[in-house]
Symmetry: C2
Subunit: 147 residues, 2 copies
DNA sequence: CTGACTGCAAAATCTTTGCAAAGAC
DNA sequence: GTCTTTGCAAAGATTTTGCAGTCAG
């Protein structure tokens, strides 16, 4: 894990490159994510920031806006489960995983025996009773790269 | 992939076992999922059903309620991306995947070299420019199994 | 018959947007 | 100075819930 200074510098550069500005709010959002190794929702991040920096004015909208910037550029990952905005598919067919294109939202399905095997091993190692799994690889599909 | 009759029988049994009732709406939701191999949102499912069965009265609430039953019992999988209700984490640290306990929502992180390697191979095979990936294994953690 | 199911509309969540004031460069 | 950012509140979008009538078993 990088130290905070390096991380901050990466962020500043990122903002500069995009013609965006470096603000106190943005800095402290990054800091909060850094100090809190857990996975946090936007609301949780807001709560932590209000507690930790009582003098800072900060609103939920800023958190959302900043997280979008960070996520687009790959500095943070997001993870949704038990969440809204889901798509459903029948689970009876042979299991498979997904490649998701971030440009056109296209979904490609694939099945890979090595990965299936490995998952079982991991579940076992953690004494975890596996009921399902989802693996999504995100990126840019061939069609969109060609554009 | 199972044929529809078998699938339907599985569903009827499932409902029976849970003391729930088999209704026209529930049957047709399953049928719509079956005939539509794509991944669909609840709204999309509603739209397809209204078009295909103009005489059936069906509301969005029923779709949500039925999908919950189906998902809980593992007959359908759900997939969320670009979605609401997300949790965020810094992506700078070494990449890892997650085990998510469905009981207590606990998150366990792990890293597995074999899986990382395999993902790269898959992306390459599909000419996919990978920017990230999320793998979540869902199940019941040791603590919750012991309860 | 009895208890579960349904649609509807209202409520609850979660996220995005418009706007005027403030701040970064 | 100029253009972006901010907080706020309002608007949107998505999902859940309460209720009275309906239906399955």
């Amino acid at each position: 894990m990088l130290d905070y200074e390096t991380l901050l510098e990466t962020f500043r550069k990122l903002l500069r490159d995009k013609g965006l500005k470096f603000t106190k709010q943005r800095e402290l959002i990054l800091k909060t994510l850094y100090e809190n190794k857990d996975h946090s929702t936007p609301e949780e991040i807001l709560g932590m920031m209000k507690k930790q920096y009582p003098d800072l004015t900060i609103g939920i909208a800023t958190i959302y806006r900043t997280l979008s910037v960070l996520e687009e550029s790959g500095m943070v990952d997001s993870l949704s489960f038990g969440a809204k905005g889901k798509k459903y598919e029948l689970g009876i067919k042979a299991h498979h995983d997904h490649l998701i294109c971030l440009e056109c939202e296209k979904l490609i399905e694939f099945y890979d025996e090595t990965i299936e095997e490995q998952q079982k091993k991991i579940a076992k190692k953690f004494n975890f009773k596996m009921t399902g799994h989802i693996m999504n690889i995100t990126g840019i599909c061939k069609d969109c790269q060609d554009k």
